[in-house]
């Protein structure tokens, strides 16, 4: 039968020669290979001390963004919850009072905002759906937890630190991605 491609290799099944049947040369060859591997560069790293850099498109834990004045961007429009294929996001909207203008950027805000990290598949569709640049994915991943409840992140856990009062933490939370983009 003619082969479809010319890449098929004809299998040769000759009886083994005496040297091959001895097995010892092959064993020594194998031992030489394993010995060589002892001095090769290790593929693993000392994890908690050393960390591998994430790719610039890494989709990690969600962060709820604030604007330059420290006001929350989210208007609880629900587009992210609709976009979410895993149905991990729930929220409740509320109306901003006049005294809260320094807290929320627009007239409506999210009173409650929860993401279930056990449901989340980190696809990034919420990030794409958001019209207000309020949610985006950072470069950390959800740490382990002892209870299922611990994986349901509330708004307080998701919110980025205030850039006005806590500039340093805000920059850290903003992540390395900003720095990488600036370098380019």
């Amino acid at each position: 039968m003619a082969s479809l491609t010319n890449r098929a290799k004809v299998l040769e099944q000759k009886p083994m020669s005496f040297m091959e049947r001895l097995y010892l040369p092959a064993i020594f060859k194998g031992m030489a290979i394993t010995f060589k591997h002892m001095f090769k560069k290790k593929a693993t790293i000392n994890y908690p001390e050393e960390k591998r850099p994430f790719s610039p498109v890494f989709r990690g834990l969600h962060v709820l963004n604030r604007d330059e004045e420290g006001r929350e961007n989210c208007t609880a429009c629900g587009l992210c919850a609709v976009a979410c294929p895993a149905e991990a996001i729930t929220m409740e909207g509320a109306e901003r009072k006049t005294s809260e203008e320094h807290l929320y950027r627009e007239e409506k805000y999210a009173a409650k905002y929860e993401i279930n990290m056990l449901r989340c598949i980190f696809c990034g569709l919420c990030e794409e759906a958001c019209p207000k640049d309020a949610i985006y994915m950072s470069e950390t991943f959800a740490p382990s937890n002892f209870t299922r409840k611990g994986f349901i992140y509330s708004k307080e856990e998701l919110l980025i630190p205030n850039p006005v009062t806590d500039k340093e933490k805000y920059d850290i939370a903003k992540g390395m991605r900003e720095a990488q983009l600036k370098n380019k």
Partner: protein, 354 residues
């Protein structure tokens, strides 16, 4: 008065032997402990990993942590097991592993307070026969452990182990007969002394060494002959039902066995406590006999460490044999080879003496 003198000498002699026994047991246990560490470390390196490095500097406390973990684990004795034998199994495995060390000459003698202290527990003139006797006892540890667990996997593993060890003991004995025809002595000390004068036995008996080494691997249940344990087909084999320190003793006795077998191989074929390329008699004049004896012990230890590394090295290179291949190798390859080696050696000895 004469009896009193004899008694006094005997007391000192007994004390000296007791200390030696204690020392050797401690050393073999510590070496076995760190062989487990070396095993994991070398395995990691050969697979381009780092290996244990969390407990203590370079992970050096890892074996201690492992031991502690085993001690704190719950001790489970299965209801349907034979309880006496179940407890006896690991104890027997450990005891037989340690017993062989009695006839190995760990060095020549050192002089303490005017007494010549031999670094060998017992220089019996049937040393090698004793080694074989004790080694064949080792099968009882496996067999009793597998049988008393009352578990089919354990039993299959135990039967596998027993037949494997018995098969390879034959080839092992036959390969040594050629060596014994050359040395003309069964005492390990005499064999070492002969090698110090006439060169190591590996030069005269390379084939015998190879057969002996392969059999040692089989006797120690090390890869490629680890069928009794066979994690992935027998769920750990004969020690499947064991937990806590009983399991620890089984695992540990394997490493003690490795240490002692390395010592036997280095004694029989690699000159024992002989320092290579050095004339010990001339050296002891300039450095003193005690220093040379300690150096000799160091030389033996270096050889043992090399063989321990070889054990580990082979384990992480070669996959396990199939059971019929194992039997085929033992009965149809190694025994005829050992017989041929024996005959050729005999002919050469006859021809040289003519």
């Amino acid at each position: 008065m004469i009896t009193m003198d004899l008694l006094a000498i005997d007391l000192a002699y007994g004390l000296e032997k007791l200390l030696l026994i204690g020392g050797i047991i401690t050393v073999s246990l510590i070496v076995a402990m760190y062989t487990t560490y070396a095993e994991r470390k070398v395995a990691a390196w050969m697979q381009d990993r780092r290996g244990p490095n969390r407990a203590g500097p370079f992970g050096l406390l890892q074996p201690v942590a492992d031991g502690l973990k085993l001690f704190f684990k719950e001790e489970i004795i299965p209801l349907t097991s034979n309880k006496t034998l179940f407890v006896l199994g690991p104890a027997l495995a450990m005891v037989t592993a340690m017993l062989t060390s009695a006839v190995i000459p760990w060095g020549s003698s050192i002089n303490i307070f005017g007494r010549d202290v031999s670094l060998q527990i017992a220089d019996v003139n049937i040393g090698i026969l004793y080694v074989f006797g004790v080694v064949s006892m080792g099968v009882y540890g496996i067999m009793i452990g597998g049988w008393s667990s009352n578990n089919k996997f354990s039993l299959i593993a135990a039967v596998r182990g027993a037949s494997q060890i018995i098969s390879y003991e034959l080839a092992m004995g036959l390969s040594l007969i050629a060596l014994l025809m050359m040395t003309g002595s069964l005492s390990l000390k005499t064999i070492v002394q002969q090698q110090m004068e006439g060169g190591w036995n590996i030069i005269y008996q390379p084939l015998g060494f190879l057969i002996f080494l392969i059999c040692v691997f089989a006797e120690c249940n090390r890869t490629p002959f680890d069928l009794p344990e066979a994690e992935n087909e027998l769920n750990f084999g004969y020690h499947q039902e064991y937990s806590s320190m009983k399991l620890g003793l089984y695992l540990f006795s394997e490493y003690v066995n490795m240490f002692i077998s390395s010592a036997v191989v280095s004694t029989l074929f690699f000159g024992g406590y002989d320092i290579p390329f050095v004339d010990e008699a001339a050296l002891s004049l300039s450095l003193g006999a005690n220093t040379v004896a300690l150096l000799g012990f160091g030389a033996l230890f270096a050889k043992i460490l090399f063989f321990l590394f070889l054990f580990i090295w082979v384990r992480w290179t070669i996959p396990r044999f199939r059971y019929d291949q194992l039997m085929d190798l033992g009965w149809k390859k190694l025994i005829p080879l050992a017989l041929a080696n024996m005959l050729i050696t005999a002919l050469v000895i006859l021809w040289l003496n003519k």
